[in-house]
Subunit: 160 residues, 2 copies
């Protein structure tokens, strides 16, 4: 089923007070969208995040992502910087799928890694506390966030 | 320091390419805002989430929240239903702090629990996979999300 139909049906349920949470077929649709993405872009200035994210995508048997070199500093002035970065990437490329990482909210709120489709919808996400709270390396934090995002929608590793 | 000043400084750093992530004093400011909140509201139709959330707030020595009885079904038609619920609560009450829970993104994307201040800023958040993925009760999922959101900004339990 396409997202359009799924979203229409889900909202009809909400309106009629008979929406009782997500369904297996909705999760399968998200998985299929990600599996079938040809152009996966990661907005970024340098390549560190891209390398780690490709390591994770590969562990789940998913297609490889490419860096989209755009300056996303302006996103940090917005309410949800990670989301603003994803929209910037969407609006400046022909991506099927964007994976964007940035701050979740106010300074101090930690990080948010978003998977977004080609219409700007959020498919899944992972979060971390601020690095000053968790003391992990950037690589580790990104690795964990991406795993969280994929496991959350039912993906399983196909290799280590 | 007030959020206004923190946000101004953080963005100046981003603009000048010298923002290297969150700072301890920013996290302390978020903690203080939550500790000093007098009117904490949870938009909801029934009381289940409110009971669990107050259990968690109490474990961290934080003030008690109250239910804000508004119909949030319309939020499910938006891009980030949890965020839309938080804004509905903010716009229909005199809250200092809103704790709203709803879907993260498209149907299937799981849940998102947001702490929002009285200007609509995101302070912290927790997430869960869809209940069909994790198989937890609603109570357990909400309990874990709230713990995640508070631990993330450096809060520690004061009782079990
Ligand atoms: C309306 C709605 C929905 O469709 N899905 C979810 C996530 C889940 O099923 O775990 C939530 C929290 C919700 O409020
Ligand atoms: C600009 C920016 C910022 O201020 N804070 C964070 C979270 C963190 O420090 O862990 C991130 C990911 C970020 O991109």
């Amino acid at each position: 089923m396409a997202f359009e139909e799924i979203i229409k049906n889900a909202y009809e349920e909400s309106e009629n007070n008979c929406r009782f949470g997500d369904k297996v077929e909705e999760i399968t649709a998200i998985q299929n969208y990600i599996k079938n993405s040809k152009k996966i872009y990661i907005p970024n200035k340098n390549g560190i995040k891209v390398e780690v994210l490709n390591e994770v995508l590969n562990e789940y048997g998913l297609p490889t992502a490419r860096i989209l070199q755009i300056n996303t500093n302006a996103a940090d002035a917005s309410r949800i910087p990670a989301l603003a970065k994803a929209y910037m990437a969407l609006d400046q490329s022909d991506a099927d799928l964007i994976i964007a990482r940035g701050r979740l909210g106010v300074p101090g709120s930690g990080s948010f890694l978003i998977f977004m489709d080609n219409k700007g919808r959020i498919l899944t996400a992972g979060t971390s506390p601020s690095h000053v709270v968790h003391n992990k390396t950037l690589e580790e934090a990104v690795y964990n966030e991406a795993n969280e995002a994929l496991i959350k929608i039912g993906f399983k590793k196909v290799k280590e």
